[in-house]
Structures are given as structure tokens and as C-alpha cells.
């Protein structure tokens, strides 16, 4: 009977205050879908960082007037450096072939460049990509070295942009979450006010505090869970109609790994848990102030 009473109170309360309930659910849903999106982005960026940073290369470009002696010395030093995994030599001819391959669509560009104008280089792959600064320092002043270019810098830029997008989503999630929090608090206060007679009598006859408060807290939790489910649906729809549809081009370039269904599925329990905990905590704190004896 208790469970039945509590549940009927919960649904009655949500229904009595239906506009507020809807507002609460919508705000909750927006906040949680933003949270979910930033979570997915975070996971993806982690994956990408792991993937790309381990494959990062640095190129040691040689001067055009480099002597075969200097070249051999450099190759020897690189091959005996314990920090370096491999350092294949790329001659001017090979570099030219690659250049032609990469820019085959821009015929004018290819025609204007001769094999001699492209520098030869060592393509250095490090064992630990974080040591690139030290390695760069060691080799930049060696004889025959023109310049050292590191892909990591480019990657850093890309990831800082992705990180920015992720932070933006997180900020939106937090601001919306704050709004949702205030709405939960407000809804509970309205609910407590509309049931003040019942609450007064319950207190008078000695109903326990949790029994008085439970319907209100459950009301908030229930709305929060609906919000989480809606947010989950929003993520699914985004994946199905946006990422797999018009935006699928991003992923075919192979730079950004596609977001899998299992990633999206993984957000559901997280969103549900966050929604439940936040609404329950807000509800409980609100009632502490509202329904004190």
C-alpha cells in the first residue's frame, strides 16, 4: 500500500504541475544531451590522441649542399640513438614522387616544382613521442641539417580545437544543468506548496520524514530520468541522421574515427545515473529547507 500511495502521489504531483514538469524534462534533456555529446567527443579525442601521437613523425630536412659524408654521419647517429625507433632516408627523388602523388590534382603546382627544389630528409619515428623536443635540440645544429619539422605541432593545434569544442559542449551542459537544477528546486517547492495541507497533517500525525519527502524526491527523479532517456534519443537521432548522413564525409577522410553505436549506448547508463543523482540531491536539499519541522 505504501508503494502504491507513494507512486500515485508522484504521478498526481507531476500531472498537477504538468507545464512545470515539461519544462523541467526539456531542460534536463538539453543539458544531458550536451553532456552526452561532450562525453562522446571526449572519448573520441582520447582515441584520436592515442592513435595519432604514437604515429607522429619528425622530418629532418637536409641542406641542398649536404655532402654524402655528412649524410652518412647523420644516418649513423640516428641509427644509434636509443630514443629513435626508425629513421629511413627519403631522397629528393622519393620526396618528389610523394609530392606529385599528394598534389596530383594541382597540376600547375606539380609542374612548377622540380625534384631538386624538394629537400631530402630523414623520416624519424620516436619510441616515445614526448621526447621530440629533446631530439630536435640534439640534431638541429648538426652539419648538413637545414630544419626539423614536427607533426606534433600540427596535431596539437587540431586537438586544441577539438578540446575547445568539447569544452563548449561541457559549458552548455553545465549552464543548462544549472537551469535544470533551479527548475527542479522550483517544481518541488510548488509541489510542496500545493500539498501543504497533506504535508501538515502528515507531520502532525507523525509520518516519518522520508515518507513525507519521498514522493517529492521521486517526482524530481522521475522527471530527470525521462530527461535522460530523451537526451539518449537525441544522441541516437544525431548519430543516425547527422553523423551517418550529411556529415559522414568527415569520417571517410579517416582523420576522425567514427562514433560507434556502442559508444552511444554507453552514455545511457551514465546519463541516467547523472540525472537521478542530481535530481534526487536537489530535491532532497530543497525539502530540507522547505519542509522543516
Amino acid at each position: 500500500m505504501r508503494a502504491k500511495y507513494v507512486l500515485s502521489e508522484v504521478f498526481l504531483g507531476l500531472w498537477r504541475n504538468v507545464t512545470m514538469t515539461i519544462a523541467m524534462i526539456i531542460t534536463m534533456a538539453v543539458s544531458l544531451s550536451m553532456l552526452g555529446a561532450s562525453l562522446l567527443l571526449y572519448w573520441k579525442v582520447q582515441d584520436m590522441q592515442d592513435y595519432f601521437y604514437t604515429r607522429v613523425e619528425m622530418s629532418i630536412f637536409l641542406k641542398s649542399d649536404v655532402t654524402p659524408d655528412q649524410k652518412a654521419q647523420l644516418a649513423d647517429a640516428l641509427n644509434h640513438d636509443s630514443r629513435i625507433q626508425s629513421a629511413p632516408y627519403e631522397s629528393q627523388d622519393v620526396a618528389y614522387k610523394r609530392f606529385r602523388e599528394q598534389f596530383k590534382d594541382a597540376k600547375d603546382l606539380v609542374d612548377s616544382v622540380k625534384p631538386e627544389s624538394l629537400p631530402a630528409s630523414f623520416r624519424v619515428k620516436l619510441k616515445d613521442p614526448n621526447q621530440y623536443a629533446a631530439v630536435q635540440n640534439d640534431y638541429k645544429s648538426k652539419a648538413g641539417v637545414d630544419s626539423i619539422v614536427n607533426q606534433q605541432k600540427t596535431l596539437d593545434k587540431i586537438f586544441s580545437i577539438l578540446g575547445g569544442i568539447q569544452n563548449l559542449a561541457l559549458v552548455v551542459a553545465i549552464v543548462q544543468g544549472l537551469a535544470a537544477l533551479l527548475l527542479v528546486a522550483n517544481t518541488i517547492q510548488v509541489a510542496a506548496y500545493s500539498r501543504r495541507r497533506e504535508v501538515g497533517i502528515m507531520k502532525l500525525v507523525g509520518a516519518s520524514n522520508w515518507f513525507i519527502q519521498l514522493p517529492f524526491v521521486l517526482e524530481a527523479v522521475f522527471a530527470g530520468l525521462i530527461g535522460a532517456v530523451i537526451a539518449f534519443v537525441v544522441l541516437i537521432v544525431t548519430k543516425a541522421f547527422l553523423l551517418d548522413g550529411p556529415l559522414s564525409g568527415i569520417f571517410t577522410s579517416n582523420f576522425i574515427p567514427p562514433i560507434g553505436w556502442q559508444d552511444i549506448l554507453l552514455t545511457l547508463p551514465l546519463l541516467l545515473a547523472v540525472a537521478a543523482v542530481i535530481s534526487a540531491a536537489t530535491g532532497w536539499v530543497t525539502l530540507r529547507f522547505r519542509l522543516r519541522t
Binding site: 500511495y5 501538515g200 500525525v205 507523525g206 516519518s208 515518507f211 519541522t293
Partner: protein, 263 residues
Amino acid sequence: MKSRGWTRPWFSSLRTFGTKHDACPLRLLSLRVNFRPVIRLENVTKTYPRASRPSMEGATATIEKGEFVFFIGPTGAGKSTIIKLLLREETPTSGRVIVNGRDVANMHSWKVPAFRRSLGCVFQDFRLLPNRTAAENVAFALEVIGKSRTVARRVVPEVLELVGLGGKENRYPHQLSGGEQQRVAIARAFVNRPLILLADEPTGNLDPDTSIEIMRLLDRINRTGTTIVMVTHDSNIVNQMRRRVIEIDSGRIVRDQPRGVYG
């Protein structure tokens, strides 16, 4: 398990008592022998925040089990403060309020609900739920403290019969007269068989004839051994009942008479 106490036909003993006015000196005597204070006020002072003077100042009184006590005095004298202190809606600024052997002021707030189950309370404005019938109003008080619906179904008709509302169980408060509404409120306060029944101006909204009927009902409940503390300024009733009278003026107890009149 919890409902075991309800299997006793507690109401039958109540019915064997006569409804005529108290004329049995033996009953009073037995109360004296069975000395057991259920309420003790020890030098109680209550000053509300931002109030210029205390609502209750140095009040000391002892109320024994089964007593019927009137607290009288002009409006604003601090009568209602007594009820609030006994219910622990308020805690005293100083002094001790002891109800049924428990120090109410120093009670943990989580123990308050269980404590309140040993009290029943009736107010001037009845405080019934308008969207529930008489029976549902009484049952509500049982259900919210965890009694099963089966228990409520058995006990509620009995207690409504007892307060004289047999046959009106399914009426809503707006279909009942003021006196009948107060009977529902009394049924709700009494259904849990409290040790003490607190009544804050229970006849304040009723005409004199109905007031007398309500007092008869309270008297019958008192005869079951329930201590009754009633706050009133209805001199007629106090003079007719001839029970203990504690008069309060400006927060101080100025008179405490065993069989008093309004004065």
C-alpha cells in the same frame, strides 16, 4: 506485526463507560493512586525570535495520566504556545518540556515523528482534507504512518461510529456541518489511540449547542484514560465541565485549580 495492537477491541471498553456526566469519585481517586505525570513543564520560557516579550515565562506544571486540563486566558496570552511546545513544533528557549518521560526539547529531530504518534491533535479549523471523505480523512492518518489498508478498513468505521458519525463515512467535509467536521478531526486524532489528546480551541468555530456535544465526546475519550489538554477561551464550557483549569496571562501561569471555573 505492527498492527497487532489493533486486534484488541479497544473501543468496547470505551462504550461501557456511561455518557452521563462524571459522577464517580472513585475514578478520580484511582488516578491519584496511579500517580504518573505524562506532561511536565519545568520553568519553561519561550521567546519567539524578534518578539519583544516572551510568550511563555517560567511556566511550571505537572499533568497526570488521564487528566482533563483546560488552559485558559485572553488571546495572545501564550495558550497556543503550550500546544506547539508539546507537539515540538517549537522548542523552549529555556526550561524543560517532558512528555511521557521524554525531554521534548532535546529530542533528535528524526525521533519527532515517532513521538508525535503518541499524541493526537485537534484544531479550531478542523484541518480536514477537502478532497477526501470522512472515512478517507481518518484512514489517511493511519496510512501515512504505515498501517495497512486492511487495518484502516477495520478500525476507521469503528472510530467514526464512536464519534457519532456512523452512516456518514462517505461524506466529504463540505457535506458535513461544523460539528460533524470536528468529529471527523477528533476521530482522526484518536484513531491512533494517543496517550494525550491536544485540542487547540476545538469549539472556537462552533455554536454553543454543538460545542457541548463536542465536549461530551472529548469527555468520553477522556474516560478511556486519554489525557486531554484543551486550550480555550470559551468560559461556558470551562464552567460546565468543572475540570482542572490553568490560567495564563501574559505568558505566566496565574492560576492552577483542580476543579476550576473560568473566573
